[in-house]
Structure formats: structure tokens, C-alpha cells
């Protein structure tokens, strides 16, 4: 009897087939809208190639700043040179994978809800095997964090004097959220201690266990950090774009 294909006679097959009565589509619809808007905004900013710095502030979309003129491609902006780094980190992130497999691929759109092409499915094996390389994107993301914290440090210096503006606080918030996101990464958690079977006998086992515990706490909030840091990056860039374009004025506290 086992291994027979069973279909509960009362539910059809195909996309959206379900006996669920709640609004299961809201989650994927919101995810779809937010991620699409972010991608649209980031693409616009990458092409705009303007208003990305103001005084000591540098937009995270353009950091680290690499001059793009020498490449001889007219539309190439410094943002385009560096954005593949964070983009691949988020694209291969275990949390975002869940989010876009549901919202974009609809495989499945929500739990216990039918899908488009039930016969064709390879999961993360064939075409998506590259998702297993997430750790390498994580190494890059950690490197980017160094640059972003350095940008915050630089944002405290106005014409050679110590200062503090609203922009500095915006950059700080961005760094904090991105650090929470990056150090809560599953691959980082594995690297720091997840791969150890016996902490009490492994080299540096106790230390690794404590670090693993910390990372596990961040990891438990990975979804929250994934979204807040995504908004964080976009709003930081938007703030700098607005002060750089003169739409608003930066507030100086010190």
C-alpha cells in the first residue's frame, strides 16, 4: 500500500489547490512585493550613478567605492561592481531561499497548498546545486562588513574634526543590522561550531560552544534581521540620496 500516489479525493491538484480557509496568499504576496520593490530600487540606484555620497557619508550601495570609469563601459557604475557581493549573499541565504521559493517559484506557495508543476522537481540538486556555495558568499559579506563599519567610522569626521550627524547614526544602524544578519548566517553558525560533534573534547571546544551559542541567538532571529537589514540598506541609501540631492538637510548633533 505504501508508495502509492495518493490524492485526497476532495482536493484538486495544481497551483493553489487547498482546503485551507485562511489567507495563505498574503505572506507570499507581501514577500513578492517587497523583494521586487527592493530589486527595482537597487537597480535604479545602480544605474543612477549619482547622489551616493555627501560629506563624510557614503551609500552602502557604493561601498567599497571602486572607480568604474577605467573599464570603458559607459553605463557601468561603481555600484554595479560591488553589488554582486551582497546580492549573492542574500540570494543564496537559507532564509531568502525559503522566501523566494515560496513567493516567486511558488514551490510551494504556502504550506499544504498545491503547486504548478508537481511532476517536475529537483529541489536544490541539479540547477540549484550552487546554493551549496552559500558559505563563500558569506566570506565576502564579512569582508563587506569591514568596509561598512569603516564607512561609519569615517562618517564621524567632518573636515578633519570629530562630528556626529543624523547620517552617521543612519550608517551605524545599517552596520548593526547588517552585522546581526551576517553573523546569524547558518553557514557562519556551522563554521563557528555547528560542525563540531563533541565540544568537550574538540580543540577550543568550550570557546567554540560559547561562540556557537551567541551565533545561535542571532540565527534564531535571522528572518527579522534579513528583513530589517534589507530595509536598513535601502533607507540608508535613500537618506544619503536625499541629502546629496538637496531634498533634505542632514542634521548635525556635534
Amino acid at each position: 500500500m505504501a508508495n502509492r500516489v495518493v490524492r485526497l479525493p476532495l482536493v484538486g491538484t495544481g497551483l493553489g489547490a487547498t482546503l485551507r480557509k485562511d489567507n495563505w496568499w498574503i505572506g507570499p504576496a507581501v514577500t513578492f512585493a517587497v523583494l521586487s520593490s527592493f530589486i527595482a530600487y537597487a537597480t535604479f540606484r545602480a544605474f543612477e550613478n549619482n547622489f551616493f555620497s555627501y560629506g563624510p557619508y557614503l551609500s552602502p550601495f557604493y561601498s567599497p567605492y571602486i572607480e568604474s570609469k577605467g573599464f570603458g563601459i559607459s553605463f557601468l557604475s561603481p555600484a554595479m561592481l560591488i553589488l554582486p557581493g551582497p546580492a549573492s549573499f542574500r540570494f543564496t541565504c537559507y532564509y531568502y531561499r525559503k522566501a523566494y521559493y515560496r513567493a516567486f517559484a511558488m514551490d510551494p506557495p504556502a504550506c499544504a497548498v498545491g503547486e504548478r508543476n508537481p511532476e517536475k522537481y529537483n529541489g536544490e540538486r541539479k540547477l540549484l546545486l550552487f546554493q551549496n556555495l552559500h558559505r563563500f558568499a558569506m566570506y565576502v559579506a564579512v569582508l563587506f562588513l569591514v568596509f561598512l563599519w569603516h564607512d561609519f567610522y569615517k562618517s564621524l569626521s567632518f573636515d578633519g574634526h570629530f562630528g556626529l550627524g543624523l547620517g552617521s547614526l543612519v550608517l551605524l544602524t545599517n552596520c548593526v543590522l547588517l552585522s546581526g544578519y551576517t553573523f546569524g548566517c547558518h553557514s557562519f553558525r556551522h563554521l563557528i561550531g555547528g560542525s563540531v560533534d563533541s565540544f568537550s573534547t574538540a580543540p577550543f571546544g568550550k570557546l567554540r560552544h560559547s561562540l556557537w551559542n551567541l551565533v545561535t541567538k542571532l540565527n534564531g532571529n535571522h528572518m527579522a534581521f534579513a528583513w530589517s537589514s534589507l530595509f536598513g540598506v535601502a533607507l540608508t541609501d535613500l537618506y544619503i540620496r536625499m541629502v546629496a540631492s538637496g531634498a533634505i538637510h542632514d542634521i548635525r548633533f556635534l
Binding site: 500500500m1 505504501a2 508508495n3 502509492r4 500516489v5 495518493v6 490524492r7 485526497l8 479525493p9 476532495l10 482536493v11 491538484t13 487547498t18 482546503l19 485551507r20 480557509k21 485562511d22 537559507y94 531561499r97 525559503k98 521559493y101 515560496r102 514551490d107 510551494p108 504550506c111 499544504a112 498545491g114 503547486e115 508537481p118 511532476e119 522537481y121 529537483n122 529541489g123 536544490e124 540538486r125 540549484l128 546545486l129 551549496n132 556555495l133 552559500h134 558559505r135 563563500f136 547558518h186 553557514s187 553558525r189 556551522h190 555547528g194 560542525s195 560533534d197 563533541s198 565540544f199 568537550s200 573534547t201 560552544h209 540565527n219 534564531g220 535571522h222
Partner: protein, 275 residues
């Protein structure tokens, strides 16, 4: 007058069936299983339902209520809006025997395929030693009551019917329990990749959403196993280090299976020496 609720129960078997509507009187604290028992007692004595503890401990009463996998004994009637008909159906992923009872034996067959715990030899004084903090992680997985709701909701089984190549979330946490165990000596990574279909899981987390024991199946079980498999099979840097850097691979015996997960053909072999 006591309040009433309308319950629509699936009546039938694998070959077909339909919803039958029943009305039951409700009372404070009533759960869906109570309502089913009420129907059994007074209106449909041949209605089949599997249950045992009525306390969320045995994992027998798994079914779907309004399309969502739930333990019937832990789902309160007060959870549903008054006047709303409540649909009760059997788990969709497994063959229906009758009404709400499904044949979950595929899970027991799968469990047999997993190479069991093989501890290292005892210490010289005849004891095994490990610390509490070594096994904290896997104690979470021991809470599993084998309700198989995670297996039922997982789209790899439910929609794609990969029962031959995919062990499912319940067994991934079982594999994780063994793999993370400080005393265990077997390496089941190759099996996880090739025979138990870990790569088929696309971490969409429905298993975690339905688990009545709130086990973080995806975050604490499946993803750590994906990372371990990546260590051995998808990490070019590690591969190079092992090949040219003289870094020794963990010398645990590798358990390999020669067939798919539907056949009981695993054997243990010594790992190849990596220079």
C-alpha cells in the same frame, strides 16, 4: 441551550469519498477529537479515527483541519469562528485506509534504512563520557512524537511524491541526532546526499511550521546537515586543502547505500585515505 458546531468529516477510502456533515454540541475546552468521538458515539459508529493518548503525546491523531495538519486532540473547537463549518480530512500524503485513518507504514520502512547509532568503544574504566552541553542540541530532536505531520506537509512528499528518494523532515532530524552525537562513529553524509535526498529539501520550512513539539526542524536539523554535506561534497576549498594540504579527513567509516532509499542495501566501508 448549548452551542452547536458543524463538522464536515471526510468519509471514504483511497478509491473515493465525500464530506459528510454532522452537528455536535460544543462545550468549554472541547477539542476536535472530542467532536469526532461525539459523532462516533451518537451519529456514525463506523467513523474511523486513530487516537490514543488525547494529550498530544502519542502522535496518533494527526489529520488536517480546515486544510492544515493538526493533532485532533490538541485543536480546540474555540479556535474556529462560531458558525463556521470545520472540515476534518485525513493526512493527504499517505494512503487512506478509512475515513481519517491513513497508512503511515512508509515512515517505518524509511526508519529502518537509517544506519543506527554506533558508539565508540567505552573508556578504559568501562564508561562512556560526554558533557551535557555536547548533547543539548540533539535533545531538541528527541522531543519528536512521530506524528508524521511534517512528513505529511512537506511538499517533496505531498506534491512531488518522492517517497523513493527522500526520507523527509522527521528522518532528517533523526539523522541529525545521530550525526551530531558526540559518541557516534558513523558518517552518514554520503547517504544523506545520495539516498535520503537531502538536496530535494528546499528549506521552505512547512515541516517546522506544523511540528506540534515546536522542533526547529529546518534551522537546527536540516540546514546544519546541508552544511555538513556541503563540507564534504560542495566545498572546493576544503577539497583542495584535503588534496594538497595534507589535511586529514575525519576517519569515520562511511555508510553507503547501493540502492535508493526504498531498498535496504546499505553497507559500511572504510573511507578512502586522502593524502
Amino acid at each position: 441551550m448549548a452551542d452547536k458546531a458543524t463538522i464536515r468529516v471526510f468519509r471514504g477510502n483511497e478509491d473515493g469519498g465525500e464530506f459528510k456533515e454532522y452537528e455536535v454540541e460544543t462545550y468549554t475546552g472541547m477539542v476536535v477529537l472530542d467532536a469526532i468521538h461525539e459523532i462516533q458515539a451518537k451519529q456514525a459508529p463506523d467513523l474511523a479515527v486513530r487516537w490514543n493518548c488525547k494529550a498530544g503525546r502519542c502522535g496518533s491523531c494527526s489529520a488536517e483541519v480546515n486544510g492544515k495538519p493538526r493533532l485532533l486532540c490538541m485543536t480546540r473547537m474555540s479556535h474556529f469562528a462560531e458558525g463556521e463549518a470545520i472540515n476534518v480530512t485525513p493526512m493527504r500524503t499517505f494512503p487512506i485506509i478509512k475515513d481519517l485513518v491513513t497508512d503511515v507504514s512508509w515512515n517505518y520502512e524509511m526508519a529502518k534504512k537509517i544506519p543506527e547509532f554506533k558508539p565508540r568503544p567505552r573508556d578504559a574504566d568501562g564508561h562512556w563520557r560526554m558533557q551535557q552541553y555536547d548533547i543539548d542540541r540533539i535533545q531538541e530532536f528527541r522531543k519528536c512524537i512521530e506524528c508524521f505531520m511534517c512528513q505529511n506537509v512537506c511538499h517533496v512528499l505531498r506534491d512531488h511524491d518522492k517517497k523513493k528518494e527522500f526520507a523527509g523532515p522527521r528522518f532528517f532530524i533523526h539523522l541529525a541526532t545521530l550525526e551530531m552525537h558526540p559518541l557516534d562513529t558513523l558518517d552518514r553524509r554520503q547517504m544523506m546526499k545520495d539516498d535520503f535526498g537531502l538536496g530535494l529539501c528546499n528549506i521552505t520550512r512547512c515541516c517546522t511550521e506544523v511540528c506540534p513539539e515546536h522542533i526547529q526542524i529546518t534551522d537546527n536539523g536540516i540546514i546544519p546537515m546541508k552544511e555538513r554535506v556541503a563540507d564534504d561534497f560542495y566545498d572546493p576549498v576544503r577539497w583542495l586543502l584535503a588534496r594538497f594540504g595534507g589535511k586529514k579527513k575525519k576517519s569515520l567509516p562511511i555508510v553507503q547505500s547501493t540502492g535508493d532509499a526504498g531498498e535496504d542495501t546499505h553497507k559500511t566501508k572504510k573511507p578512502k585515505k586522502t593524502a
